[in-house]
Symmetry: C2
Subunit: 280 residues, 2 copies
């Protein structure tokens, strides 16, 4: 596995792979890798791609009161995981390598970026769009793999790619869950065992909603959301939002059908968790 | 010369050229070609590039009260000029090919986009950035050629490319002038012969400023701007702005030195004209 810290180095590695006729698969991460990331990597490898992973905790997507400083990091462990997963190359740039003294360019996907996560984390998706655009331009992958866990991020990136004609295919990959059902996330480490137990209500609720839709054929989102609120409220967690929305516009929908989803954010203690169930 | 109207077609043409080991040079235009455009093409050909030209009158960079509808167009004549100039391929997309029903992604180069042209034409540079980003992603050139005539556009594009890591080298090319000194521009066709005669004060003034700086060694921008205003006011034209600025920040400078310029916009009758003298 090759490790590059400089843009020019990773570009050279990718150029060589492309010259050898390989398709480039890319998995952008903020490190502190878990099995969700490994699943993205496996998808890229199954697709026969020369697989590049980036590890970069992007300051631009954190708000001033958010957890940029304390976001978990362990690059040595990440590198072992990536080697184990047979990744071909990893790009681990510094902040200085990624951002000049005065970065002035903003990318904003209007409307989609303002709702749900965007309403709670103003500027978050601008930061995501900038770093993803930069990484796409540095690595120039043929395919990039994003998890459904961050559904709004996935859809905003897809929209940016379509609107700006990036020559990249965005491959959505289902959410991976830990054994207790909690969606795998680097931030799960913040949870005390007490909080984690409470937080499980989130995946349980989404599992229940999936059954209500698919087994009981209930598609009225009022009924589904009411049930979800009731279930989640049984635990001592705070619902930040729970909405049934179109996966194209994030506008609320009254019925579950193709291309809709129910997206939830809760706080268990001080820890924010997001999860969703989608019908794509 | 190959002519492509679809993104997939021009991508295929460029892929083939790249496969043959060629370097891709790109000249984006809004058509109604003049010798300024031809000069950009010549630069690309001198650099040994497989040269792609785009013709697209980009609606997003025109304000609601601007001249999008009446902007001069003559694709047949343009194609003859491009053949004559030995261009390899031309991309002539429709509006529908370039923009979906609902384009939501904005690109904004903060600060640089707000001054001078940006102050007079709000949103103009956002439209420019979007179309250039799209064209870069569609054509994926190694080099793109931009004229100093639109100095602010050139610098904003350079900043966008640096900030977003586009793998494109931006090549600045000196302004080309008609025989009477007027900077070549598609919009010159709007000028009556009377207006054109008045408009010549612009290039005469800039020529005089260049002499004052380079022969008389006057670098105090107060003196230079005062002289310019006096000269331009001798004709019946309106000065929209005349500023001596840094070519990095567009902040006013008190002395002419490396990487500064004097940028001017006037109105001769209803016709806006921009021009500049730069020390790069």
């Amino acid at each position: 596995m090759e490790i590059a810290e400089k843009k020019e180095h990773i570009r050279k590695i990718v150029r060589r792979a492309r010259f050898e006729g390989k398709t480039i698969g890319f998995v952008p991460t903020m490190g502190y890798l878990h099995k969700g990331h490994v699943h993205l990597i496996e998808r890229s490898r199954e697709d026969g791609c020369f697989t590049v992973v980036s590890i970069f905790v992007n300051p631009l997507q954190f708000g001033p009161s958010e957890d940029f400083e304390r976001y978990p990091r362990n690059v040595e462990r990440d590198i072992e995981i990536l080697k184990e997963a047979s990744v071909d190359a990893v790009f681990i740039p510094s902040n200085e390598e990624m951002y000049h003294v005065q970065h002035l360019t903003e990318i904003n996907v209007l409307k989609l970026s303002e709702k749900l996560e965007g309403a709670i984390r103003p500027g978050h998706f601008k930061g995501v769009c900038i770093v993803v655009a930069k990484l796409f331009n540095i690595i120039q992958p043929d395919r990039a793999y994003f998890g459904w866990k961050d559904a709004q991020q996935l859809i905003i990136i897809k929209k940016m790619v379509a609107d700006l004609d990036f020559p990249v295919e965005i491959v959505p990959v289902p959410t991976v869950r830990d054994e207790d059902g909690l969606a795998s996330s680097s931030r799960n480490i913040y949870l005390s065992s007490e909080e984690r137990k409470k937080a499980l209500i989130l995946s349980k609720t989404l599992h229940k909603l999936k059954e209500m839709v698919e087994l009981d054929k209930i598609s009225d989102t009022k009924i589904l959301i009411a049930e979800a609120k009731k279930m989640i409220s049984s635990e001592n967690v705070v619902i930040q939002y729970i909405e049934a929305v179109s996966l194209e516009t994030f506008e609320p929908v009254s019925r579950i059908e193709k291309n809709t989803g129910i997206l939830v954010a809760i706080k268990a203690g001080d820890v924010r968790l997001i999860d969703n169930v989608i019908w794509d």
